[in-house]
Amino acid sequence: MTLLRVEQLAIDVERDGHRYRLVHDASFELDRGETLAIVGESGSGKSLTALAIMGLLGEGLSLMQGQILFEGRDLAKASPREMNDLRGNDVAMIFQEPMTSLNPVRSIQSQLVEGMRLKLGLSKAAAAARALELLNEVGISDPERRLKQYPHQLSGGMRQRVMIAIAVSCEPKVILADEPTTALDVTIQAQILALTARLCRDHGVGLVLITHNLGIVARYAQNVAVMYGGRVIERATARDLYRTPSHPYTRGLLESVPRLDLPRDIPLQPIPGAPPDPMEHVPGCRFNPRCARASDRCRAEIPVMQNIGEHSVACWHPELPAAQKRDAVG
């Protein structure tokens, strides 16, 4: 059975008496021990999708349709109480900003043991002992002293290590990491991602890595879902996606980043325009105003997800992989 399967998720926001759809028909799946990257720019709906899986959508936001099948069980239908039991135990989350997601007035120890006491029913002593082990496991030196400290006494990298320790403390099966290293320096980013990847591999945890960094995706993810304007517009294995991007937006993203592994003077090919305001209505494909391949159909009809080779892509004029182009000609 697939560990996590998200089907046709839709999320609305209510603002000034109007309803706006922020996420449309998002679908993807995740297996045990696998890393799935959700890639997108600001406003693409990637963080909202993660929050919906956690049952943590804020005020004014609601899950309108779709299924979130965790080991076959639909979390979209779970009661708040059931979700409370699941959170941490089965599905855990690592947030972007460890300064704002850790409680500033509670010690590291009290935040680390809370989940284990509540969810695993560990005794105070057992939880404290486990907390010490966890800090060791995430590579924090002098863990005895750190347990008694408060978030402001830790560096950004260490705070993120504590977040990871909290996330793995109750041995979840899925971890959602929302831009876990965006606020960190590049050498610390490398440490944190290597640590997260190792822990997930060792414990067979499925990792959903939400990021805008295409390099991180290439290094850590096996599968990728690309989001744009609230929709998943392409899904493929990381290798296929980078070798033969089918959606013009995916190709545009890949061509707009400067790269250390290519000659310096290759000009960047930016995508013209800007991503749509999430509350703005764009008829047809939401990418059409920025797309060089857009036709009348793109301006009128929303593209449906179709399979092209190993990719799923939502585009009326996808780019075909070279092999298929040859087949089409011959």
């Binding site: 050498t187 980013q189 390099g215 995706v217 790269r259």
Partner: protein, 346 residues
């Protein structure tokens, strides 16, 4: 590169900030934000400063903009020590050297229209008669890729990329020679970032601008800059032209920084053994002895713990501050250390 005249010469720059505490706010200690930065930027060149948070790159930028005063060392602009500038010559300097900041949200006044923001320096410095300010604003918007109607919009009515274009137009209003870009594209989404990078490159060629480009994203800095300096804890560790620095880094820290950047190529990444640099940047109030990088350095020797290395040439126009720099450049012929086996074969 032959007869280039240095526009900016920074010589042994030190900047310290006092830490005050207690009732009388006495100076208890000081943070040495920059301890000996030396570099020159030639006219028409893009010079990059890279490093992680706290390395002093922004403080260098602020000193060049004459927003903080050096505690030692000199900054010469067009041959003149900027510490001595007063009156009209200071005013000229303020016009010739402009800045573009990271956050287009907080660096534009939310209560002013774009036309007002861009037109203000023109009016204040009397660059154009009042009747021509409007057309000058329209011209500046146009070269930054925005239609003239943007003059009537407020910052909140624009996207991040558009706001950054306003920030650039404002800098250009003074007809500057040197633009200090402090993380100017860092806050932008990937697809927008490329637009602004291309705009900065076009403007540099068309207007003959010189850039001091501060950034933490190595691939962006490499793309934009002709030469780059790597900073760490207020020191300059290495400086070279971009191609050399990224292809053949001499300092172990530069190498570690480059290795830490994942490339958007799953095939290459899956074959790469990544050994992240251990530890974190130490506190500038209590820096390590000797080379400040030695606690994290993979090729540390006893010399490194005792004495601080100075920046010295390893090749023409390529300098590094490292005691083991000879070994580092010959690293490919060395036996592979057991911890990082098979790591480096590309």
């Amino acid at each position: 590169m032959n007869a280039d005249k240095p526009l900016l010469e920074v010589d042994n720059l030190h900047v310290s900030f006092p830490i005050r505490s207690g009732l009388l706010q006495r100076t208890k200690a000081e943070i040495r934000a920059v301890s000996g930065a030396t570099f020159t930027v030639n006219k028409g060149e893009a010079f990059g400063l890279v490093g992680e948070s706290g390395c002093g790159k922004t403080t260098v930028a602020r000193a060049v903009l004459k927003l903080v005063d050096p505690s030692a060392g000199t900054i010469r602009y067009d041959g003149q020590d900027i510490a001595n500038l007063r009156g009209p010559s200071l005013e000229t300097f303020r016009g010739k050297v402009q800045a573009v900041f990271q956050d287009p949200f907080s660096s534009l006044n939310p209560r002013m229209t774009a036309g007002h923001i861009i037109g203000e320096p023109i009016r204040v410095h009397g660059l154009k008669p009042n009747s021509e300010v409007k057309s000058e604003v329209a011209r500046l918007l146009d070269i930054c890729g925005l239609p003239a109607r943007f003059a009537g919009l407020y910052p909140h009515e624009m996207s991040g990329g558009q706001r950054q274009r306003i920030g650039i137009a404002r800098a250009l209003a003074m007809n500057p020679e040197l633009i200090v870009c402090d993380e100017a594209v860092s806050a932008l989404d990937v697809s927008i970032q490329a637009q602004i990078i291309n705009l900065l490159e076009e403007l540099r060629v068309e207007l003959g601008l010189t850039y001091l480009f501060i950034g933490h994203d190595l691939s962006v800095v490499r793309h934009i800059c002709d030469r780059v300096a790597v900073m760490y804890l207020g020191r300059m560790f290495e400086t070279a032209d971009s191609d050399t620095l990224f292809a053949d880094p001499a300092h172990p820290y530069t190498r570690a920084l480059i290795d830490a950047v994942p490339n958007p190529d799953p095939d290459a990444e899956s074959n790469r053994v990544v050994d992240p640099l251990p530890g974190e940047v130490p506190s500038p109030t209590n820096p390590p002895s000797g080379c400040v990088f030695h606690p994290r350095c993979p090729s540390v020797s006893s010399m490194c713990r005792q004495e601080e290395p100075v920046l010295k040439n390893v090749a023409p126009a390529h300098a590094a501050a490292c005691w083991n720099v000879g070994n580092q450049t010959r690293r490919h012929s060395e036996p592979i250390p057991e911890t990082n086996s098979a790591g480096v074969s590309p």
